[in-house]
């Protein structure tokens, strides 16, 4: 079940990239490197990249054979999450502006 191709190095790589990304988003916010709206975009992108890095280097989704269904259920969940989060925000935003 634990693929023999997974190396110790992959965890070191995952850890290093994750730390760099965490510090990058932290300093982008605390040092106010960018204008406010750009900062939102920058830390959102950094978070998405870090999630992908952890999914690839720590969870090894899609790299192992026979984990096709794991990948399919993962993609399905992502669609559900998108509907829940984007839908809630869309509805609540419209509700707020229409009630004003």
């Amino acid at each position: 079940m634990i693929d023999s191709r997974i190396t110790y190095k992959s965890y070191f790589v995952g850890l290093t990239i994750s730390i760099v990304l965490t510090l990058a988003s932290y300093f982008a916010v605390t040092f106010k490197t960018f204008p406010v709206n750009t900062t939102y975009g920058v830390i959102a992108v950094l978070a998405v990249v870090q999630i992908l890095i952890q999914v690839i280097y720590f969870l090894h989704i899609g790299s192992e054979k026979g984990t096709r269904w794991n990948l399919i259920s993962f993609v399905f969940s992502l669609i559900m999450i998108f509907i829940i989060v984007a839908g809630s925000l869309w509805v609540m935003y419209n509700l707020n502006t229409n009630m004003m």
Binding site: I2, T22, T30, I51, Q54, W69, V85
Partner: protein, 197 residues
């Protein structure tokens, strides 16, 4: 011999099945968290005329928490590889390190909550704080459950050795633990960083 081989493949199949079942549970947990995140984003400015969440949290403190949880995810990954390579002693060392890091994380989080409540920012103060405590508290509850489960898995491993059965348990806990770190990346960005801009 043929029977033994058959038995082995049966056990292997069963372990793949339980891992997939556990994976489906984690995906449903993801959806639960996404609902809590949506709630937080909608309510984060609803402070009932009170002070906003901006500047309420100590950022270096939260950064330390983040790095600790990240390291615990890393040490758990190494523990899994040591289990695969049958290095029992190293595996227990890594699991012990993961447990202590997880415990440190939970301790810091409880301390943060206590500090906030002491300052008069409890979950009853306003909708924004209610959603904050629900989201971060649910994550903390998951980590605590993971720590409790880790003790059980370590007992199983100490008693039964590294077998297909015990490794399956360890692997499922690993999926859970890495998943909690992925959720924390979202908490760190959406709850803490976006409120400090």
């Amino acid at each position: 011999m043929a029977h033994e081989l058959d038995n082995h493949s049966h056990e292997h199949h069963q372990s793949e099945n339980s891992i997939f079942g556990f994976w489906v549970y984690i995906m449903s947990d993801c959806i639960l968290f996404s609902a809590l995140f949506a709630t937080f984003i909608v309510l984060k400015d609803s402070t009932a005329m009170g002070p906003s969440l901006r500047g309420l949290f100590s950022m270096p403190y939260v950064l330390t928490e983040t790095i600790i949880l990240l390291f615990s995810s890393f040490t758990f990954g190494l523990a899994l590889l040591f289990a695969r390579d049958n290095k029992k002693c190293m595996m227990f060392k890594m699991l012990g390190a993961t447990f202590l890091l997880g415990l440190a994380f939970i301790g810091m989080e409880i301390n943060e909550f206590r500090h906030l409540i002491h300052e008069g920012y409890s979950f009853k103060t306003n909708a924004a704080l209610s959603s904050f405590f629900t989201l971060v508290g649910t994550h903390g509850l998951h980590v605590s459950a993971g720590l409790f489960w880790m003790i059980l898995v370590m007992i199983h491993l100490a008693k039964g050795g590294i077998t297909t059965k015990t490794t399956t348990k360890l692997y499922c806990l690993g999926l859970f633990w890495h998943f909690l770190d992925v959720i924390w990346v979202c908490v760190f960005t959406i709850v803490y960083l976006m409120n400090a801009i």
